[in-house]
């Protein structure tokens, strides 16, 4: 069954990718979607049997991949609760996105290719989450990177899509480089890339250092003892997570990734790709749990991202970008939870977030579909009456995202804030305050999105408004399924994921050291802490209502008064400009130099071009020797003989 879950999307990819032209777009759509739906159903079966039942951790070997000396890499499927959760998230969202895409991509001429890529994307992510060793995980990791590149640049005729695809790929390479170094480090320390082996030896390894072991790892010229070596390795691994999960400093690719078709955005943001980082840290919790420093760093980055992305979300006008920054911010939440040691809480937020973020994205896609591919919210407004179903679905998504009581987000997000409050590392309190403030901003920008898009007077042209229509059922049904998840997922599963049953639920999938009591303590926080997210949510709602319903010219006045701040946020803290100045332009300059001077002048000049010029020159001279005059020829012969005689006489005299 597990093998089928992983391989069905691959099969779909191969069929649609290789035979797409032969079997046609319709067949490609149905085959890939059908396979994904089967995989999704099987995933839920797996989830119930492993998570809610008493399924043990299983390893299902598929093939031997690399055997070289001590390095033994198998392709195997590791199934435990964490995997089961990820399978559900990935396959459910992916299946719905596949179905939704049938409607959304209706007019696109390259549907087979699109569905093939979607299935490839899903397969890569499944390989990642089912891996039982770091190399396989890296394979999935890179596969996800490749598929995202292909999908973001799906409309390759657009230069902006190509640029965004390249940006995503390049920024991810930076993180992947760290991840690769981390994997090398782990192999160096443990002589294995197998997760089970590593986890079994991790505790003892760090303790061996406490008894006075010498330096075991040298990185960047500095020797490290076992405990610090573990920190270094964890930080390197986390660097990979930062790239893939678009955390602060490596986040710049995520908003640009909006250039891809909207279902792709939903897939990237909700199920695949960005959740990989969170999953990886949770999966490697036995390692991270041993490095307090690394966890503190994770908390710091998570909290900063949560806050920072939320501030940018406040002022964006592109409907997809608002949601994109929201994702970035929510991922920050998850890392805060992981950073304070509440892995279950982080994964729980990942789980609920998948539903409402996919819902919001697909809803936004439905809106964009309705208003003839317009994405600027300033040109929308008043759409509520025209597309009521989409409207209500978006409301559900917004409620869940802002953490309205009893929706999915309420359970998971509040749990993160509480966990941060009781967390015991240096940045836990920072994390708490940042996430609380971010909750206020989340509420504001989410409702701003709703109000700008659906309420008020229509700002679109009459022509566009005339064509506004509700999406077909193939698009709205997935919305409803996701809405259901967004409403009840938290309520139904919070007991298992983070409540009193979490021990039986997670079993050995997540590791928490003996002195980690976050999950215990988070249930006993002061009342004001429990209430703070709700209050923030309400304040955000009210402010948004005031700004965009009651006094629609207030935002403009505010922006004018704080022009500098507004510009700062609107330009995303000038990160793109900064990176452009620091890295892109110097790199371009260096590249241009090496190309024009290094390659053009030196290599071509003395190499191919130089030689061909020389050859032509020599040829011209030689041909000119051939005058046609017989006395020249005879002269050449005599000169030749004289030369040969002289040469043999002076140089040759070996025999005498």
């Amino acid at each position: 069954m597990y093998t089928a879950i992983v391989l069905l999307p691959l099969l779909g990819f191969l069929v649609a990718g290789i035979f797409g032209r032969v079997i046609g777009a319709k067949a490609s759509e149905y085959i890939t979607s059908g396979f994904l739906i089967i995989a999704a159903i099987l995933s839920w079966v797996a989830f119930i049997s492993v998570g809610l039942g008493d399924g043990e951790t299983q390893i299902i070997p598929i093939a031997t991949w690399i055997v070289s000396g001590a390095l033994d890499v198998q392709w195997a499927i590791r199934v435990d609760t964490l995997t089961a959760v990820m399978l559900v998230v990935v396959n459910t969202v992916s299946a719905l996105v596949h179905v939704y895409s049938i409607g959304y991509m209706h007019h696109d001429p390259h549907k087979s290719r699109f569905f093939a890529y979607l299935s490839l994307f899903t397969f890569a992510m499944l390989t990642l989450v089912t891996s039982d060793n770091l190399v396989q995980m890296f394979f999935g990791w890179e596969g996800v990177g490749l598929a995202s590149y292909l999908l973001i640049g799906f409309w390759y005729q657009r230069p902006s899509a190509n640029a965004a695809a390249m940006k995503a790929f390049v920024v991810n390479r930076i993180g992947d480089f760290g991840f690769a170094l981390g994997i090398f480090g782990v192999y160096y320390l443990f002589d294995s890339v197998n997760l089970a082996t590593i986890f079994a030896n991790a505790q003892g390894f760090v303790e061996s250092g406490a008894e006075g072991g010498g330096a075991v790892l040298t990185f960047l010229g500095t020797p490290y003892e076992p405990a610090t070596a573990m920190t270094v390795v964890c930080l390197l691994l986390f660097m990979g997570a930062m790239g893939k999960s678009a955390q602060f400093l490596l986040h710049t690719w995520l908003p640009d990734a909006m250039e891809g078709p909207t279902p792709v955005s939903a897939l990237i943001h909700a199920a695949t790709m960005v959740t990989a980082g969170v999953f990886m840290v949770a999966r490697l919790s036995p390692l991270f749990e041993l490095s307090h420093t690394a966890l503190t760093f994770v908390t710091f980055i998570g909290a900063t991202t949560a806050f920072f992305a939320a501030t940018i979300g406040l002022v964006q006008t592109d409907i997809k970008r608002v949601i994109a920054y929201s994702t970035c911010s929510q991922l920050g939440y998850m890392f805060v939870a992981l950073g304070v040691g509440a892995y279950g809480v982080g994964v729980f937020h990942l789980f609920t977030h998948a539903f409402f973020k996919a819902l919001l994205f697909l809803g936004a896609g439905s809106v964009i579909h309705a208003v003839s591919d317009e994405q600027d919210m300033r040109k929308m407004g008043g759409l509520r009456k025209h597309i009521p179903l989409t409207y209500w679905m978006m409301i559900v998504g917004t409620l869940a995202l802002t953490g309205f009581p009893l929706t999915a987000g309420y359970f998971s997000k509040d749990a993160i804030i509480e966990a941060a409050f009781v967390g015991d590392n240096a940045f836990a309190q920072y994390g708490f305050w940042m996430t609380v403030i971010a909750a206020l901003m989340t509420s504001f920008y989410s409702w701003r999105l709703i109000f700008l898009t659906f309420h008020g007077k229509p700002r679109a042209s009459v022509d566009v408004m005339k064509h506004v229509h509700e999406s077909p059922p193939v698009m709205t049904v997935p919305l409803m399924v996701l809405a259901l998840g967004a409403l009840v997922a938290g309520f139904v599963f919070s007991g298992s994921f983070i409540g009193h049953h979490q021990g039986e639920f997670w079993k050995t999938a997540l590791f928490m050291s003996a002195d980690n009591h976050v999950l215990e303590e988070m249930h006993h926080v002061p009342q004001w802490v429990k209430w703070s997210p709700f209050v923030m949510m309400v304040i955000g709602l009210v402010v948004a209502w005031y700004f965009y319903i009651k006094a629609p010219d207030a935002p403009k006045r505010l922006a004018a008064r704080h022009d500098g701040l507004y510009k700062f946020l609107l330009n995303k803290w000038y990160f793109d400009e900064l990176y452009d100045f620091l890295f892109v332009r110097p790199a371009m300059k260096l590249g241009r130099f090496l190309w024009k001077r290094g390659d053009g002048t030196v290599i071509d000049g003395f190499g191919p071009d130089g030689i061909s010029t020389l050859v032509q020159d020599v040829t011209a001279r030689v041909v000119r020797l051939q005058t046609g005059y017989i006395y020249h020829y005879a002269f050449a012969m005599l000169i030749g003989v004289a030369l040969l005689v002289t040469w043999t006489m002076f140089a040759g005299g070996g025999a005498h």
């Binding site: 041909v623 051939q626 012969m637 030749g640 030369l643 040969l644 040759g652 025999a655 005498h656």
Partner: protein, 480 residues
Amino acid sequence: MQPELTLMPDLMPALPELFLAVGALVLLMIGAFGGERATPAVTGMSAALIALAALILLFMPAEGATFGGAFVQDAFARYLKILTLIGSGLAIAMSVAYGRAEKFERFEYPVLIVLGTLGMMLIISANDLIAAYLGLELMSLSLYVVASINRDSVRSTEAGLKYFVLGALSSGMLLYGMSLVYGFTGQTDFAAIAQTLAQHGGSLGLTFGLVFVLAGMVFKISAVPFHMWTPDVYEGAPTPVTAYFAAAPKIAAMAMITRIVITAFEPVAMEWQQVVVFVSIASMVLGAFAAIGQKNIKRLMAYSSIGHMGYALVGLVAGSQAGVRGVIIYMSIYLAMTLGTFACILAMRRKEGMVEDISDLSGLSRTNPMMAFLLAMLMFSLAGIPPLAGFFGKFYVFLAAVEAGFYVLAVIGVLTSVVSAFYYLRIVKVMYFDEPAAGFVPMPSELKIVLGLAGVFVIFFVAIAGPLVGAAGTAAKTFF
């Protein structure tokens, strides 16, 4: 044994030569009395004569010597004579259609070729300076006349005259060199020269003589700096004559050079190797560079043949059995490639007449795909691209040079073959990627056969490499 009978030399080892000589005279009579009408018959009989000579050669005893040791019949001679006969026979065959179309039907032409071939066979078997010189002159005189056979064409007569004057000069050098060699060794027999040299060592006078002898001989294979006649003669002479020039005489002259340096001058290897190294490098370089500037395909083939003689000499420089084997293999492959290419050049005929420019081949792949394909294969082979025959030819000579320690020579050979690849590939490019020019008239069947055989040979050389290399090895063993 009766003493008067011993004065009569044993004629059996020279049976094919005698057969050719008598045959040529008979054909001359037929032509002289039959006039122009007899030309087709004479042509056919000449070809048959050459084929019969080859058959006799195949079935007679492999070893033998006569005329007091001046004429030897051995495995080396047999192999190269057969190659020469193939070259001459096919040259006659390829001239038929041309002669008909260009009003160039003279019975003297096939007869002269037979006589020239006789000269070639004599020099291949010559084991004495005087015998070598006589054979060479017989060959050269035939070639002078053949070069200017088209008396109405200014270019043809100019080519013949140039060849004659320069050839006379080279003959003079050769004779002068031979007299020096005789003067300093007192011998004309190759084996005796070698014996004397081994006993007394070389001398300055002998070195002089050696250089002059070599200069006179490499003139015939048009190696640099004695190559100047080649492009002009190739271009000026009628194309069938050029095809003949490019194939048979080169093989015979190369065989003579090989025999002389390996047998007679073996004790002074250092001296002749230096000369041959210089000539070889100069030929390879000039062949590679000068051909790039050519627009006329016959001129291009002239430079190409200069370069190929340079490569063949690389094997000779090694002076070893592997080297001689390399030379023999190289000449065999060179023969096939040259005949095939000239079959294509002879087929470059439009309604208004023969054309000779490379640009006339434009888009041949669309007007005549089969010819374009085979010519492309021949060009790839001439450039030495594996797995075609030309690659193996170069491989064996370079291998021999490397084994004998002539690394620099081998490296220069490889580099120049890269440069020369340019003009061969350019022809392929012109045929396959340029806009089609007007098509050629259909190819005569004899050209088709020659081209087909050559194409099969270069493409499937890998399959026949074993026996061929074995035969060449046996031939090379003669000297060691």
